[in-house]
Symmetry: C2
Subunit: 319 residues, 2 copies
């Protein structure tokens, strides 16, 4: 959420000469997305996003992301594809980093979604999954079910209990439960895997863009709905479940893509997995980020509360 | 250079209803300026900057800044005035902070100015000073000559010498020299006091905006030219003096506003003062910012080198 690599206006101006996008009028470093450096550019022809990929994105993954965005855009999904230069190349080098020039999409990320906004988002997710049915490229989910136990071990029992007394035991039991019941046989496809409200642009109730695909990967399709559910259907601190938002999100999804019976039966477990995934990554970041660092540490307990809610309320998916 | 206060899209949307500026289409937190939170907004009517004032800007100073920008805009200077709401009010409250909606200006900040760009900047500074001849409001320079000794004391001799061996002695001697010779009698006016290339927007060789007036104050007018000189006429590390840029900057200034003989004779000393001012504030920030903080600490020695150059080359102002 910061600009890690400072690119001069002169360098951006030169960079744009590789493309047919006009000349530079304005360039502002923006605080957005995962740990990349992003600039909002205005040229004589329009607006663009310039992204320089920092340590969290492996340049070897860029072809997967580009193919995914191109596929989705070709199928009418509202996503921001990378722009090709005059030689047809989309992956550029700038200031020693891989970089892409990206289509700018209008819209804002809402903080307190309405039912109508949740419905639109569910529908956009369903349409995305439908469009990805014939998308062949694969990428391993680096944050998948198999990796959660490793992540928990890296956190350490003492550190987990330091975050919340008893947390290590909750995590250990949940890992055992998920190992025993994880529905490996469900349909897989490319998924977004991180569709928080931050990553959905809207104008009013209308979705104008799904963005930030840098966690996208191949995994259980219904798990993507579960992640989105955990991200959208609670108060930020996880203390309040919003039933109407949940029903709108799932209803919107179903309006675009049917949820099979086996998928529906698996949703409570997938949602527990989604809550555990963000609980563990937040716990890891919490433990490894100094309390006085300028990055705001996100509270792992917000996803502990979601996990506990999902453990005790499987019926919320019976709609 | 970060977004300190997170304002939701819903809050920004509501905020804009106070103004006649259309409805929100896009909002991006931008990394810009002193320690304020800034958002680049796009509405159905245009682009705007939303600034929330954090700890470095005293809300009591906002009326001075607003009057200054209004005065300059009315005199044809390219600055970004604050926008009044429907009640005529420019100082707003948002998320517990003072906030202003500000005119967006096109242009980019150059990192390696050309002579033509330095000339335009000097001219814009001269025009600004000319326009301010009849500007009455006053604001004390919080970083003025009188405050440098306090700042040096707050840094401490040991810490200064830790930055560079012998630095404490260089600073002490320079403070004595400036105390003895400081030209208090020179013409004063409102000045920008921080006109680094970051704070000048350009399109090609043309100045499209002077921005970030949050250090503006009442002080010796030629000191503003000295600050701008120290900011523009050296390599970033202060190791190389750029004579042609210096001559272009001063020549541009004179094309808009004559430099009197007493001002010209004072410029070497004022430039030493300007170099010491940024040396001391950078040293203070260096000492008080952890080495592993996410904010990049700016090297105080870049202004020690400028100071040493000014000490030994007073003749550069004899043009």
């Amino acid at each position: 959420m910061a600009v890690y690599t400072k690119v001069s206006a002169e360098e951006i101006g030169d960079f744009l000469k590789r493309f047919d996008v006009g000349t530079l009028v304005s360039a502002k470093g923006i605080a957005e997305g995962v740990e990349n450096s992003n600039y909002l550019l205005e040229t004589t022809q329009g607006q663009y996003i310039l992204t320089l990929y920092e340590k969290r994105v492996d340049p070897a993954d860029l072809p997967f992301f580009i193919a995914l965005l191109d596929h989705l855009a070709a199928h009418g999904c509202k996503v921001p594809p990378m722009i090709a230069d005059r030689e047809g190349e989309k992956i550029q080098q700038l200031c020693g980093r891989s970089a892409c020039l990206i289509v700018f999409l209008p819209g804002v990320s809402v903080s307190h979604p309405t039912e109508a906004q949740a419905r639109s988002t569910g529908q956009a997710l369903g349409e995305m999954h439908r469009a990805l049915a014939d998308f062949a490229p694969e990428r391993r989910n680096m944050m998948d079910h198999d990796g959660w136990r490793t992540l928990a071990d890296q956190c350490g029992q003492a550190q987990l209990d330091h975050i919340a007394p008893g947390l290590a035991s909750v995590v250990a039991k949940e890992l055992d439960h998920l190992d025993e019941h994880w529905p490996h046989a469900l349909p897989q496809s490319a998924i977004h895997a991180d569709l928080f409200p931050d990553n959905v642009l809207m104008l009013g109730d209308r979705v104008t863009g799904l963005i930030d695909f840098y966690f996208s990967c191949t995994d259980i399709r219904a798990y993507d709905l579960a992640v989105t559910h955990a991200a959208w259907c609670f108060s930020e601190d996880g203390g309040d479940f919003h039933g109407p938002i949940s029903r709108a999100l799932i209803g919107g999804y179903e309006s675009a893509l049917p949820i099979s019976d086996v998928e529906r039966r698996a949703l409570p477990l997938l949602a527990r997995g989604a809550a555990l995934r963000f609980l563990l990554t937040r716990a890891f970041d919490w433990i490894n980020t100094p309390a006085d660092a300028l990055v705001t540490r996100k509270d792992p307990q917000a996803f502990l509360r979601r996990l506990q809610y999902y453990q005790t309320h499987p019926e919320i998916f019976e709609i």
